[in-house]
Amino acid sequence: MYELTRSQKQIQKAARDFSKGEFDKDLAMEMDEQHQVPCEILASAVELGFLGIQYETEYSGGGMGLFENALIAEELCRKDCSIGSALMLSVSGAEALLRFGSKEQKQKFLPGLADGDLRFGAAFNENGMSGLLSAGKTIAVKKDDGFLINGDKRFVIHGSGASLYIVLCRVLGDDGTDQGPCLILVEAQQGGVQIKKAGDTVGLCMTSFSDLCFENVKVPLSNLIGKQGKGLEYAKSCMDETRILIAAIALGTAQGALDRAIDYVKQREQFGRKIARFEVTRQKIADMAVQVESARLFTYHAAKSFDKKQLDPKVSFMAKIVSTSAAVEVADEAIQLLGGYGYMKEYEVERFYRDAKALNLLLGSGQVQKNSIAEKVIGRI
């Protein structure tokens, strides 16, 4: 399971070296406070091929799998969770097109997917951070010459930088008949598309979340992805990938917090000895290490199964909940171990704690994940 191939080890090392070279603590503190997307680092990550490694090479991806993508996410977020997550989340959103789009759509829209020019926004939800999929408030009326879209979508990840949105809407026939939920491609420069900041979040502050407003937006009929009425189903099935990515980001976040805690307890002295010598410190570190390892096992397992097309449907929910909970708890304990310093921005773990909490909420809190798991585990009653 941990056995990495040579090329996986190379990818991992390259990501580690990149993060060491490009991420800067003071800059990170500033971007966090200013809620800025780390555009320059993003550009250089794109250039070096770290983003979109799971996409096929014909779409400028790396032709590898979610597992390799998870390895990169882990390394980048371990070094800096805020920068790492902003980077990794910037190229997500195109999954529905890749999986369910026609050949023509892919040829038209996907080249350049991972080269930074064209960023996708998955506009599936109408609530907020919890990302509950919904097509209730966005209506696409189907006319002879195209769809006419009106309505709002919320909390699109990196929606402000995207040039193409995949919008979950409810299609109505010209006569008002409901033709079910559909996924429709909308270009950002299209007239009638308004993009607003969704508001500042308590964590993941370098990732922008956007609300979209569509007012009489007209797109050709050929922008429909896959079959009519299948939109919700498609959108749901793409969430596995997002959940696994979030799990990988959270894994790196947890590991990064643990790294910092271990470094601190090994150098800090109290009552005449290093605090790493106190049993209670050691028990805490052990607990944290177990949680990080749980996150790793679930994340790797989910990503690998996904790549083999053998993903047990409950596993991506489990990975998401285990990994993000681990991140919250490990970062919390890291703050406590660092004491007063843990509460100071300079020592970073407070940012890991906030980011972890945001990751925990993104796409739905534990309660939401657990209801989905229960559905799979309990089955028909």
């Binding site: 609530n127 308590v202 964590g203 109290q270 309660q367």
Partner: protein, 380 residues
């Protein structure tokens, strides 16, 4: 059976304070958080209205009121979720050192200003190398004639930017026994050799001005000592019961305040989003949190009574400090989860509190220190 017996006077005091906080404080919190400081006139306003140092005797400008008035102040500040407003640190933690241990002369000089809000106080114990471990304080105090020369640095000092007067713990370098080496001194801001560092950037509590303090050959009159020379450790120990109890009162009231907010928000949406408000899991979460708050409240109220009756409840206040502050932290996390889409937005009060109160299990002795003291009391 109400455990705390509030009189009509207490209730009037509470109502006046509540109104003042709603008008003079609550609307400005965002602004002050941005400016990283609470303007001094706010302190003075509080002082003028009698909401600072209520326990100080009329002789020194105070009102000589009981501890329940302090409890009311903490509760009401928690009610507006403004944990950066460290008036209890001033009124109920630092000023009592002066009140209990300073000479009549020093008291005459400083207490009236403390009461009026013209003098804001801080206490400087923690050092970069001495957090929980007070015995390793390195700041030195050397007698030279009728002066004391202070050298050293302090960190994480709350009210560190605003403060006009600081109680400084420093060691006599000639005394080897750490427990009889520490003395406490009153040091005025602005005197030569005393420099305030820049404000420390924190996760939350943004308008709580926390800073480093530096003493470089800082000379103060020898008579600025509090109590006996070398008595610092004992004085600190003696005041810890009240300090921790105050943290516990703050802890339980912040937990309660977060829970009340979330419950109200939730219930207000029952009509709108039935599926959420009808969630049995959410209802159970509220049931569990309400239970915890009730337990903590009963425990803390009982301790307040015992503290006021001058009982020794050192162990119990350690229990209360760690349990209530951990609880506040946990409840903030759970409430964020329950608030869902709104929970993680900066505009959500719970999200702000989540960042503010993370310091509670750390300050005034980490919760691990509390557990160590409790364990000792069990005979280990």
């Amino acid at each position: 059976m109400e455990i705390l017996k509030y009189s009509e006077d207490h209730n009037r005091f509470r109502n006046r304070l509540r109104k003042l906080l709603e008008i003079e404080v609550a609307p400005h919190i965002d602004q002050w958080d941005k400016e990283l400081l609470i303007p001094k006139p706010v302190w003075q306003k509080m002082g003028q209205e009698g909401f600072l140092c209520m326990s100080v005797a009329p002789e020194y400008g105070g009102q000589g009121l009981d501890f329940l008035y302090s409890v009311i102040v903490i509760e009401e500040v928690a009610r507006i979720n403004y944990f950066s407003f460290f008036i209890h640190l001033h009124s109920d933690i630092v000023v009592p050192y002066i009140d209990s241990y300073a000479s009549h002369e020093l008291k005459k000089k400083y207490l009236p200003g403390c009461v009026s809000g013209d003098i804001i106080t801080a206490v400087a114990m923690t050092e970069p190398g001495a957090g929980s471990d007070l015995a390793s304080i390195a700041t030195t105090a050397v007698e030279e004639g009728d002066e004391i020369v202070l050298n050293g640095s302090k960190t994480f000092i709350s009210n560190g930017v605003n403060c006009d007067l600081v109680v400084v713990a420093a060691r006599n370098p000639q005394e080897e026994n750490p427990y009889s080496a520490i003395s406490l001194y009153l040091v005025e801001a602005g005197i030569p050799g005393f420099k305030k560092g820049k404000q420390l950037a924190k996760m939350g509590m943004h308008s709580q001005d926390t800073a480093e303090l530096f003493f470089t050959n800082c000379r103060i009159p020898a008579k600025n000592i509090l109590g006996q020379k070398g008595g610092g450790f004992l004085m600190l120990m003696e005041k810890l019961q009240q300090e921790r109890l105050i943290c516990a009162v703050g802890g339980i009231w912040s937990a309660k305040s977060i829970l009340d907010y979330t419950l109200d928000y939730f219930k207000s949406r029952i009509g709108e989003e039935k599926s959420i408000a009808r969630s049995q899991a959410a209802q159970f979460a509220f049931a569990e949190m309400s239970t915890q708050v009730s337990l903590g409240q009963t425990f803390v109220d009982n301790l307040v009574v015992r503290h006021m009756e001058k009982e020794q409840v050192v162990t119990e206040t350690c229990m209360a400090k760690y349990w209530t502050t951990d609880l506040a932290k946990d409840i903030a996390g759970r409430c964020i989860d329950l608030l869902g889409d709104f929970g993680a937005m900066e505009s959500c009060p719970v999200a702000k509190v989540y960042k503010d109160i993370r310091v509670m299990p750390i300050f005034a002795g980490t919760n691990e220190i509390m557990k160590g003291i409790i364990a000792k009391s069990l005979g280990f």
